[in-house]
């Protein structure tokens, strides 16, 4: 199982974790994050979401996040899988796993990773709600924006 992936398949947090902790005899901490599709957003009743990615660039952006995290937390091993296509309410759109000797780094790297995903990974979601649909738009992706990167690092509470 690849450390990073963009996939139309159902995500499997447990399999990704198993892969990362294999022979992790020196690691004492695993922090994970899972993003789920919610049934409402900004006052709208959501029916389902549709995720689209610029796949080759999205995979590179995920690898970039892994590299950035390694530079800050050298002992952390990070896995990130993002799903695309149609997702129903309650399904997982993203799973992130951080394995580390100590919990502090595992939590920080995991949190950092989800913040960076929202900043620089070329994925878009179209929300299908009762009465219409709308493309959600967040951050202008710029991996070289050091202010954004530092904001993610502050939020990570390292």
């Amino acid at each position: 199982m690849a450390q990073v992936a963009i996939t139309a398949e159902r995500l499997d947090l447990e399999a990704l974790t198993t892969e990362l902790v294999r022979e992790a005899r020196g690691d004492g901490a695993v922090a994970t994050f899972t993003g789920l599709v919610r049934d409402h957003n900004q006052g709208r009743n959501v029916c389902f979401l549709e995720y689209e990615a610029y796949e080759p660039l999205a995979v590179r952006a995920l690898h970039r996040i892994v590299d950035e995290a390694r530079a800050t937390w050298p002992d952390v091993r990070l896995g990130l899988h993002h799903r695309i296509g149609r997702l129903e309410i309650g399904e997982a759109s993203i799973v992130i796993v951080a394995v580390s000797p100590h919990r502090s780094d595992a939590f920080a790297a995991c949190r950092y990773a989800i913040e960076r995903v929202k900043q620089i990974v070329p994925i878009w979601k179209r929300e299908h709600f009762e009465g219409g649909d709308v493309w959600l738009e967040g951050a202008t992706a710029d991996p070289d924006d050091e202010n954004a990167r530092q904001a993610a690092q502050r939020i990570a509470c390292a």
């Binding site: 993003g35 995720y51 689209e52 990615a53 610029y54 080759p56 660039l57 999205a58 590179r60 993002h82 759109s93 993203i94 989800i114 995903v117 929202k118 900043q119 620089i120 990974v121 070329p122 994925i123 878009w124 979601k125 179209r126 493309w135 959600l136 738009e137 967040g138 951050a139 202008t140 992706a141 710029d142 991996p143 070289d144």
Partner: protein, 81 residues
Amino acid sequence: MRVTIRLFARLRDLAGAAELVREVPDHATVQTVWNALKSEMPSLVEYERTMSVAVNAEYSRMGAAVHEGDEVAFLPPVSGG
């Protein structure tokens, strides 16, 4: 020379196409490609200040040179996670 233009999410919806092939002058930059595209499809201009660009699936800048056969992508603000 010929380049392939890739459009995503709402930019794709506005253009009505995910992929376009266009002739651009030699020594064109990403900016040249964008200028031609927005002349052709004025509704795209609202993304001019918020979009990102990529060349051959690497993030790039408006001033970057493009070459024969390059894939130039225009990306609305992202909303993954």
